[in-house]
C-alpha cells in the first residue's frame, strides 16, 4: 500500500498539479477566447527558463524567482495576444490555432537560443526524500503541491466571488449577453491571458524544479494539459484541476501495465477515450 502511495500516488499528484496548472489556462482560453492554445506548453517552458535566468543573474533562490517569472510570463501572454492573436479574432478560430502553433515554435527557439538545448537545473545537489508517516516526499514536492493548490484555490475564489471573476465566467457563458451588460470584452481577454500566463509559468517552474529544465518540456506536457482540460470539461476550471490530477496519477500508474516509455501516450489514450464516450467531460463543459 505504502509502495503504491510513494511510487505512484505522490509523483502522480505532483505531475498532476503541474498538468492542472497548465490545463486551467488552456480551459480558460478555450472557454473565453474559444480556441486551442498550442503555445501553452512553450509558454510554460519560457516561464521556467525566466525563473532560471533570474536565479542565475540575480542570485535569487528559485522560489523567490517564481513570482517574478509568473508576472513576467503573464505580461508576455498579453503581448503575444496583441502581436499574434488579436487581429485574427474575427476570422475562423482555426487560424488562431495555427498562429499559436507558430508562436510555440518561436517561444521555444528563443529559449533555445538564449539558454541552449542542454538540460539545466535550478539548484544542484541531491535532495533526499523524507518520511512523513511512511509517505516519502521531498520538501520541494510538498512546496509544489501546496503552492499549486494555493494558486488554484485563489483562482476559484476569484472566479466565484469577485466582480471581474464573474465577468470572466459571464464572457465564457454568453459573450453577446456579457457585452450587453457592458462587460468590456478586451479587458476580460487581457485578464484571461494574465492568469493563463502566470499559471503556465508556475507549471513550467514546478516541472523544472521537480525534474530538470529542458527546452522541449512544455511541449511534451501539452498533450496531457489538453487532455486534462477536455477530461474536466472545457471551460470548467474545477474540471481542469480534477482532470490534471487524474491524468497525472494515471500516467504514473500506467507503468504497471505499459512499458515506461509509453507514459506520455496515456494522455493520448485518455483523450481519445473522452472524445469517444463523454466529450463534455466530467463537469459538463462546452463541446466545441
Amino acid at each position: 500500500m505504502m509502495e503504491l502511495v510513494n511510487f505512484y500516488l505522490v509523483p502522480g499528484l505532483i505531475l498532476g498539479s503541474i498538468y492542472a496548472l497548465g490545463a486551467i489556462g488552456i480551459t480558460l482560453i478555450f472557454g473565453i477566447m474559444r480556441f486551442a492554445h498550442f503555445a501553452h506548453g512553450d509558454m510554460a517552458t519560457l516561464g521556467a527558463y525566466l525563473a532560471l535566468g533570474l536565479t542565475t543573474t540575480l542570485s535569487l533562490s528559485p522560489w523567490a524567482a517564481l513570482p517574478v517569472a509568473m508576472a513576467g510570463t503573464a505580461l508576455l501572454a498579453i503581448l503575444l495576444d496583441r502581436l499574434f492573436y488579436h487581429h485574427l479574432q474575427n476570422r475562423p478560430k482555426i487560424l488562431t490555432v495555427m498562429a499559436s502553433l507558430g508562436v510555440a515554435l518561436m517561444l521555444r527557439s528563443v529559449v533555445q537560443v538564449l539558454w541552449g538545448v542542454d538540460p539545466q537545473v535550478y539548484t544542484t545537489g541531491i535532495v533526499r526524500a523524507e518520511s512523513f508517516a511512511g509517505v516519502m516526499v521531498r520538501p520541494r514536492e510538498i512546496a509544489t503541491f501546496a503552492t499549486a493548490v494555493g494558486l488554484m484555490v485563489v483562482l476559484v475564489l476569484f472566479l466565484r466571488h469577485t466582480r471581474w471573476g464573474k465577468a470572466m465566467r459571464a464572457m465564457s457563458d454568453n459573450p453577446d449577453l456579457a457585452r450587453l451588460c457592458g462587460i468590456d470584452n478586451e479587458a476580460v481577454v487581457r485578464l484571461t491571458w494574465l492568469i493563463a500566463g502566470a499559471l503556465a509559468a508556475a507549471a513550467g517552474f514546478f516541472l523544472g524544479i521537480n525534474t530538470e529544465l529542458n527546452t522541449m518540456m512544455g511541449w511534451s506536457a501539452l498533450l496531457a494539459m489538453f487532455a486534462a482540460a477536455i477530461l474536466g470539461g472545457v471551460g470548467r476550471v474545477e474540471g481542469a484541476v480534477v482532470g490534471g490530477l487524474l491524468i497525472g496519477v494515471i500516467e504514473e500508474l500506467s507503468v504497471l501495465v505499459l512499458p515506461s516509455q509509453y507514459k506520455m501516450a496515456t494522455a493520448f489514450v485518455i483523450l481519445v477515450a473522452i472524445l469517444l464516450f463523454r466529450p463534455q467531460g466530467i463537469f459538463q463543459g462546452k463541446v466545441l
Binding site: A36, M98, S109, V113, A265, V272, L275
Partner: protein, 309 residues
Amino acid sequence: MDTVGLLNYAIFMGVLIGIYALLTLGLNVQWGYAGLFNAGVAGFFAVGAYLSALLTAPPAPDRIMGWQLPTAVGWLGAMVAAAAIAWPIGKVTLRFRSDYLAIATIGIAEVIRLVLRTEDTLSGGVRGITQVPRPFGDLPYEWSQLIYLALTWALVLLVFWGLERQLTAPWGRMMRAIRENETAAAAMGKHVAARRLEAFVLGSAIMGLAGAVYVHFMRAITPEAIDPMMVTFLVWIMLILGGSGNNRGALLGTLLIWVIWSASELLTDRLPAEVATQAKYVRVFVIGLLLQLVLRWRPEGILPEPAGR
C-alpha cells in the same frame, strides 16, 4: 564545390522539394479542401516511410518483416498504412470542431514517434533500417539519383494532376460547398462527416507516400532522421504562404519556403561553430515569425484559391 558535387546537391534538393511538395499537396486536401487542421503531418510521413522500408528491405535479425518486395508495393503499402491510421483518428474527432482534430493529430504523431523510438523490432533500433532498395538502384550513382529525381517529380505531377481533376469533379465541388457553408450542405443531404473523413484519409495517404519516397531516396531510415515538429511546421507554412486551397499554391509555397530554409542553412553553416547551433534556432524563429506575418497580412497566401470553380 565541383560540378559533380553541385549536381548531387541539386538532385538532393530537387528530390526533397518533390517530397515536401507531396506533403503539401496532401495537406492541401485536408486543409484547403476540407478545412481540417492536421498538426501531425510528420506522423503519417513516418508511418509511410517505415512501412515501405520494412516491406522492401532485406530481413534483419530482431526486426520484423524485411520481405524485399518491389518498391511499388512498398509505396502502396505506405499509403495504405497512413490511411489506416488516419481513419480511426478522423472517425473519432471529426464530429467535433477542428481544434480537437488538431490536438488528436499532435497526439497520434507523438505516439507514432514513441512507438518507433521504443519498439526496436519495428524500427530496427538505433541502427534503423538500411539497404532500402530503389528502382534502377543498380545503376551508377549519378544515374540512379537522376532517375529517382525524375521519378519523384513524375509522382508529384501525377498527384497534382489527379487532385486538380478531383477539384472540378463532383467530389471537389461538394468539398468546397461543405467548407463554405457546412449547415447548408448538410441540409442538402450531403454526408458532411463522411466527406471530411475521406479528405482526411486521402491527404494522409499522400503524406504516407511522401514518406515512402523519402526512405527509398535515402535508402535508410533512423528514428532521429525526422524532426517531427519542423517537418509538420514547414509543410504548414509552405501551404499557407503558397495559398491554401490551391494546388499550384502548394507547389509554389513548397519551393519558396524550401529555398528560404536551405539558403538560410547555407548562410548559417558558414558561421563559427559556437554560433552555428544557435543559428538553427534563429532560423526556426524566423520561419515562425513568417507564418505570423502571412496570417496577418495575406492569410489567403500568394496564390489565392481560384474562385467559382
